[in-house]
Each structure stands twice: as structure tokens, then as C-alpha cells.
Symmetry: D2
Subunit: 304 residues, 4 copies
């Protein structure tokens, strides 16, 4: 299988550099990268569940969600503190203060933390409390940010751009790999199409294809991928069946009151239902849930 | 849940006819249409497998594929005899002669027949040997054809157009239902997007959404939906997990020599592997394979 | 410049038939097809204006629009009598009765008639009163209809499908040309994209490219191409500057009351403004308006 | 006319902040922002031409192009020195050294400079030699970069993202305007669609619509918008007719040898032809070319 730049640069990138290493591609079918995210192995046989609020709001809410995620069987707590918003007048996230809230809640429940970074300048201040830096869809080709994350050496969750081809997505990963950071996790989150009934079109064939082309782990985010709560569980099951290595889902105790993306958040009850229904599908495709660190194993655990 | 025309007509169709019946929509969550396709129930709890060559070639090949489909556990034999081709210079299918070949092979193995019809004028001559008329993606809004099929009363497999919204697809079904034909099966086969790595982008969220909005059965065609053999099995498993009622897949004994779409056809061995791997996923979502008519039960069976 | 099937058939159509004639392609740069539409030359140096209501409503309205079109400088009267509508419950057009209304109004003002045909069976009854058969975007790959129109020998206006590539569009024209009908006019009417602010995305680069690749005339329909009245004039001017051979625009005396697509129709005053503003742009690119037949020259003129 | 977030954030941004100022929108139809780019007024009646190499290569080449641009009638010299490339192994631009080359050449010919900035950290070092900072399509929603550019107070050319809706594009401008920088110029450069024959689909209706909605100047880049040299001139003429305030085009003395995007660059001869053919079209729509600063007027002019 060969990979070609689909020519956003007006030329096949591969052509211009015939000896390019393409470190994202799989040379050996048995080779698979496993990324250690705060003690959780991402990309091995085990299937991982990352869940949490779209945006971190209060300590109480975040703690409640962390408990839900941990008790139901989740592995990693997600939550946005720097939110990239279409409008400058929309809620922009709580910033570093929000990160403390998120990391405290995660630590209390033995969960590593994944959160989005928007700017290279934020990395040093965020790094001590983040286990997995998320690069959002809008920044997939923010090459300055990718280079800074490569230098940081921390695990990176690279979301596919909303109109990025698979080839462009793998080349974006290449900026991290070539920059010396092998800890790369990919995440399909839907692409932009003409269909208005869903927020994006979740491209699960891309997941199956990337799993064949690349040794990197691939997660799926059906919350952003569909934008509709009632589609999240079916798409989670489909993602697991298609070969994804895990999921990233929005969870909120009161979705209609969420400050961001409430329409796509699962309630705690639905999150528990998701885990219950995932189990048999994972069995069917021969995969267990990944192991979890013990509740107090992460370094930021502060209480309970 | 409400359905709105997404405005290809420059206005909300619903608005112009506020009392429109929307027969495709589900009024009662427990309501589900089951379409009888030559003795195979499509749309109930049972999951159906329709498989066969993209285009019918010879009697020998078709018979061999019918045997593969029947023995591996398939329910319905598919095969194109009138092929809609981009170029007038490409192979256009064997026509009515091909239909005889297809129906004879299907009959010999106790399989009902699904094949594409391109033109209202073909319906009377095709009807005696066809159990399920396929309306292809290019003809989803060929309203003259839809009206003629409504009048025929035969079961119809309505593929989603390559750039049709979910709303438009359901309105196309409405032409059949409003025309008096309740035997409608929908089929997602991928939509056209910017991604060049796959022939189309298979929209499984559309399947989950339509299953919630409508009482009609929904199948998935991952062969046309991806265009790549190596993605067909993963997408079949994903479709089953997402709630599809069955699959339509291309099978050919020698894919590289197929006259049409060889790159997406499963070999007999891969088709058997598909059935083996589907079983546990269907178990996981609580669905059995549909019952099959006994090998000689269909009315056109002519020999063994 | 070479043309390749962009693979809706899962293979390059050209590859499968290396000696395919590609009659739509230009062999000689100086070669350009001129189609005679009821006395109006389409495709030569002269620029043509086709205008009229999206759907024919009453004789009075249609007559009034015909007068507007003729007096302002238009060449051909357009109007839909068989309307392909997303919903079966939306207004479907007046049918053959509407065609009489349209043709009478056109004849009274010395204008040839262009109208959409949906089904091969309609051709014989429509042909006596139609100068240019329109194939709509939904039917661009309705190959049965294309073959019947090829056999009819009448001029055909082939609209680009809403997600058709340029290559597929030219191959659709090939069905007409290869079927023995050289009287083919192409029409760009916008493609389907993710942008919701306009009904479609008008692809004027496709017009410039097709003018270079093919000898066939190319018109542009900015009414359907944008869906917004306020964008029609700017896009008409842009189309003329890009090298189009003419325009197809919706005109209605009372756009808000139009039975179909009122939001994109020009009022008579705006249509007159369009013609006024087009003149200098056509001068700038060295093209005159096409000659018009004398008011009573068409065969169906019944009165003044 | 109202503007709504098309919901990339999963909610209408306007809804969440009902008193949002929407500074990009036009309150008074006669209001139009004119941005002073090194002495060239962008956005008034005058039409501006920005041209130059996709990537700055050598001093000799850049000087030669600057001379071509100036002599033919261009207003601003464009050239990339920090190139965002899909692949990390492709040519990444000459960096600050390239900026010196570009600014020297521009100064020698009395042309202001537009070049792309990729990262907030680059702004202070680039600002002394840049008249107009370009934000590329990939960075349209790089909000950290937008905020830093807002603070810089320098004129900004904001390219539309490759899958950005018009609403998102105007909200991105809002980050600059709300951040206190009123010197914003928009640039349409094509959107990503399914059509493979052109690199992007140039959306000229978006230009006409934004000119009606907003008081900001709008340029068009047909080089990136089509990716094909032979389409650049027709699309430039069409952009002028559609109401654009100017153009950004790639020019290279030897396009086939260009290090970046040679297929879309105009030769000097074609650039001269473009200017010759633009004149009459601008006349037709009642617009002159913008005034140009005298050859030595810009502050960085170093020699002739």
C-alpha cells in the first residue's frame, strides 16, 4: 500500500522527497504502537474509553463526571479548558484554572487526563497536569503547534481535520514522529459533508483503512462525529466492530445545561449503558477493555 | 423527531404541504416494516445477507457464485444485468439474457433475486424473474421510475443517492409508499465526499438515524460504499453493530478478472470469513441471521 | 488534456475501452459546436439568455413573463411543466397542459422553448412544442432518458448533476453524441457542498475548463446555482466573464408568490437590470448577444 | 440579512451571546472598510493586484518577479517564506532569510509585501518587513494566531479555510476585529469538494454574498482556487465581474521549475495578459485599478 499526498500542496509530497521515511506507515503487519497514557496502554489489544465533559465547568460537576467515568469503566478523563470556538463571543473555556479542576477530579478517581492545547505557548504550563495533549480538528495542520508538541515528548491525540484526507492526517502525524515524538494516537471525529442531519459524517472506513496502513492507535469520537446523543451509542458499537482502539465521548450529568455541545453528550445513565453494550461487541471482535491503573495510581491524585 | 426537506426544491417541501403524510416516518417506536423478498423476511429481527457479482457474466460463474452464497449462509442473490455506466463505451451488462442466467442460478440454489432496474419500460419483462427491484444511487430521484415501481407492487431496494441527504432519501421512499407500494427496503451505499482514498464515504450514522426515524428496513452496501476489498469485512461488522438490517456485498470467484468493480469484490473465501465473523457481532447486538427459504422453495427454482 | 472517468464505475472507463471516441472532447481548438435552438444559435460568438418561470403557473403569468423576456432582450423562454420534486406532496407542475401554456406564450413573443423532460415516454408528446429538451441535474445519469433523447434528434440541454464530476458530465454528454445526436448544450447549475448559505456552489471554473476541453456550448444557471436572488446578477456577470455561452435564469413577476423557487427568481425589473449590466461585460470579453429570430419567426407563434 | 454560526460548535454562537457585536457585518450599506497596505488602499473603489511567487526562492528570481509585477501594473508583492506543507519532508520555505529577499525585492520596486505567518512567535520578527500578514486556509481557525495578530495592529489577509462556511469565515474575522484590529482583508481561495479536476472549487458566490453582508474588502486567489494555470485568467475576470476588490495570483518566471505549486503559476507573459484583459472587465463594472504608491515610496525601498 502506498501513501500519496493528495496534493494540498499542489504536488505529491512523496514525489518531491522520494526517500521520505513515512514513519506513520506500517512496515511490519504485526507492528503496533502502544502509547502509555498515564498508565493506560492505548493501541494494544485492550480497548480504551476516554470520556468527560466537552468543556470543564465547575469542580463539583467535573468531580461527578470523573466518578461516573471511573465507576462505569472508563480509562481516561477528557475535558476542554481551552475551547476553540467559532465565535469570539462564545464561552472560551476556563483556561489553566479549569485544568486544575480537571486534573484534580481525574487524580481523585485514578484517571489520566486528556485535554486540548491550542498554542505552543501553553504547553509548558499545561504539561505537568496533562497525560495526553489533544490537537483539535481545526489545528491538525497547525504545524508550529505540531512541532512544539513533538519537542515536548508528551503523548499526543491527533484529531483528523474536518476536511482532511487520510493522507493529510497521516502526514500531520509525521510532523510529530519525524520531530522525535513516537507517542501519537489518532482520532477520527467526522468529516464535513453536505449532509445536514448530522454535525459531521463519521468516517469509520477511514478507521479501518488507517489501522491497515499505520501502526498508530486510532480512536473514534462519535460525539463530535455525529452531534446527536441518540447516535452516539450505535456509532460507538460500530467503531469497535470496525477495529478502533478506543473511544472519546462527551458525558455530562445534565446535558441540556452543558455550556458546550450538550446535544451530543451522554448522560451518566447512557454512558453506563454504552459500556454494558460495548462489552459483547468487543468480545465478538476478540478484544478486552484495556487495563486501568489503580484508582490512586496517578501522580496527581489528591483525595478520596 | 421532525423531517424537513433539505431544500433541493428551494423550499421546505413539508412547508408547502403541511398535511403531508410522511409515510416513511415511524409513528410508533415498536412499528417496523418487514418486507417479504421471495420468502426472506427483510426488516424483522433477522439479519439478511444479499451477495453476488456486480455484473452477471456467464452461467458458469453465476452458478458458482450462487453456490458460494447459499452454502456460506447468504439469503438473496444479487447481480447486475442492466448496468448504469458513466461511459457509454463501458460494459453495459447482459440485459434480459443475463437476468435468465441470474434467476436460473438463484433458483437452483433456493435464493431470491435482487437486480437493478434502470427504466420503467423494463419492469414488465423483468418482474417475473425478480424478487426485489433495485433502484440505484443515480436513479434515487428518477421519479418516473419510482412511480412505475410503486404501481408494480413488487419489493423495491432504494439505494441512497450519492449526494442525497437523509431527508431526500426518505422523500424518495415516500414516492413508493404514497404510490401504494409498502414493500420498501432502504440501502446506504456511501456518499460522495472529498476523500479520495475510498470510492465513497460510508455513512453508518445515517443508518442509525434512519432506523430511529423510519419503520423501513435499512441495508448497507460496503462494497460500493468503500470500493476496497480490504475494507468490506470491517464495514460489514460495523454496519451490523450500528443496527443495519442486512448487507449487500459483491462476491466474485476471481475478483481481478471481474468485468465490473473487481477491486471491491470479496472472493468466496473472504465471503465465508465475513459470515463467520458476522455471527458473533450479531449475537452481541441480539440479532440472529434471518431464516432462509429451503433450497428449492422459491418459485423459479429450476434444477439443482 | 486527457479525460478520465473519475471512477464511479470503480475503474477508469477510458481504460476499459482504449479506443473510445470521446466525441465531447475538442480535437481542434478552433472547433466549436453551434446548436440551433428554434433559430437561436447557441455556442457561437453570440451570448444567449434563457429565462422564464421555474414552474409554469397560469397563461396570464406566463404571457407576462414571455413579454418581459422578449422585450428585455432574452432569446429563449424557459419554464417547467414536469417538475422533479423532492417530495411527492409538493407541486409537481402542470404537465402537458402547462406545456401548451408555455409554448403559446413563447410563440406569441417569438421565443423558442426550453423545458425539462423527466421520462422517455414523455418525449413524443412534448417534442412538437419544445425546441430544447432540458435534462435536469437529478437525471444527468438517467441513461435510459439520455438514449431516448439521443434517438429523438432534438437539441438537449444537459445540466450537470449535483454531485457529478466534470468527467462524468462529459461522459453523460457522450451518451447523446454517441447515440447520434450532436445537438448538445451543457449547463452548470451548482454542485452540492458543505456550505449552507447558498443552495449550491456555482462552479465557474468548471465552465472555463469545459470550454477548453470540449467543443460543446456551456450555459450557466445562477438561479439554481445560488438559490438567492441577490446573488443572481453578480454570478451572471461572472459567468459571462468566465467564458460561458449564455445563461438560464428564473424570472417571475411576483417572486414571493411563485409556486416554486421564488427566492431565486428575478423580478422583471431585475431581469432588465441584468441585461443592462451584462452588455458591458460581454463587450469586455469580446462577445455580442446572439441574434434573435424575428418575433413571429417560430412555428408556434399564434398571436402578438 | 442575519448571520448564524453554522454550528461547528454544536450550537448557534449567536444564540449563546445574543448581544454579540458582529463587527464584520455591514450596518450601513454605504459603509466599506478601506485597508491601507503600505500605501495601497484595499477595499475602496480601486481594484488591487497582489502577485508573486508561491514560495520565495532566490534573490534573483524574486527581483525578476517583482519587476514583472510592478511593470505590468501590480500593487503588492506576495511570496511565501514560511510554507505550511502537508508533508514535513517537503520544502518548508526560506524563513526570515527569505523574508529579507522578498522585502528587498519589493522595496526596490515600490511594492508593499504580503506573506504568510504561521505562528504568533514569528510576528515580532516579521512585522518590520511585512505590510500585510496572510493567515492561510489551514490557520483560519487558529485562534491563538488570530488573537496575536489582532494585538499586532498590522493589516491581515484572512484566507477562507478549505472547508469553512461563510459564517465561520466572518466569525474568524471577528476575532481580529473584536481584538482591536480593524485592518482586515478577506480572501476566497476555493473550498474542498468532490471534484478532482480542480485543486479546489472557487466559490465566487461567496464573494458576492460577503460583499453584501460585510464591509470588509474581499480578494480572490484563483491560483490556489483552481490549481491550474489555464483557469487563472478566466477566474480572475469572473472574480472582478462578481465584485471582488482584488486578486492574489502566483507568478513565476519558469513555472515548471517552481519549488512550490508551479502548475498554477502564471508566467510573466500570462500575467501581463491578465492585466490587459482585466482592464475592460473592470471598466464594465465601473471600477478602476487602485492607485499605486510611487516606486520608491515604501519605507523599505533600498535601491532600484
Amino acid at each position: 500500500m502506498t501513501m500519496q499526498s493528495t496534493d494540498v500542496d499542489g504536488e505529491a509530497a512523496a514525489r518531491s522527497e522520494p526517500t521520505a521515511p513515512h514513519r506513520a506507515l506500517r512496515n511490519d503487519p504485526s507492528q503496533a504502537t502502544v502509547v502509555d497514557v498515564g498508565g493506560v496502554p492505548v493501541g494494544g489489544r485492550g480497548f480504551v474509553l476516554m470520556a468527560g465533559p466537552c468543556a470543564v465547568e465547575t469542580a463539583e460537576l467535573t468531580g461527578s463526571i470523573a466518578r461516573t467515568v471511573r465507576r462505569a469503566g472508563g480509562h481516561v478523563l477528557r475535558g476542554g479548558v481551552f475551547k476553540p470556538r467559532t465565535s469570539p463571543y462564545a464561552f472560551q473555556g476556563l483556561g489553566l484554572e479549569g485544568l486544575s479542576v480537571l486534573a484534580d477530579a481525574a487524580g481523585a478517581w485514578g484517571l489520566p487526563v486528556v485535554t486540548e492545547v491550542l498554542d505552543a505557548a501553553q504547553i509548558p504550563r499545561m504539561a505537568p497536569r496533562v497525560d495526553l495533549f489533544q490537537v483539535g480538528a481545526r489545528n491538525m495542520q497547525n504545524f508550529a503547534l505540531l512541532r512544539a508538541l513533538a519537542a515536548s515528548g508528551k503523548p499526543v491525540l491527533l484529531k483528523r481535520g474536518m476536511s482532511a484526507t487520510i493522507s493529510e492526517w497521516l502526514f500531520a502525524a509525521e510532523y510529530l514522529l519525524d520531530g522525535g515524538n513516537p507517542h501519537v494516537v489518532l482520532c477520527e471525529r467526522g468529516i464535513r459533508t453536505f449532509e445536514p442531519a448530522t454535525r459531521n459524517t463519521l468516517d469509520l472506513a477511514a478507521v479501518a483503512l488507517v489501522k491497515q496502513m499505520s501502526h498508530l492507535p486510532v480512536l473514534v469520537d462519535p460525539s463530535h462525529g455525529t452531534g446527536r446523543r441518540e447516535l452516539v451509542i450505535p456509532m460507538c458499537l460500530a467503531a469497535a466492530a470496525a477495529g478502533a482502539d478506543g473511544l472519546v465521548v462527551d458525558v455530562h450529568p445534565h446535558p441540556p445545561q452543558a455550556l458546550c455541545d450538550g446535544a451530543q453528550a451522554l448522560s451518566p445513565e447512557l454512558f453506563e449503558e454504552l459500556v454494558r453494550r460495548l462489552g459483547p461487541v468487543l468480545d465478538a471482535v476478540g478484544r478486552p477493555f484495556a487495563a486501568r491503573p489503580s484508582p490512586l495510581a496517578t501522580s496527581y491524585a489528591s483525595c478520596t
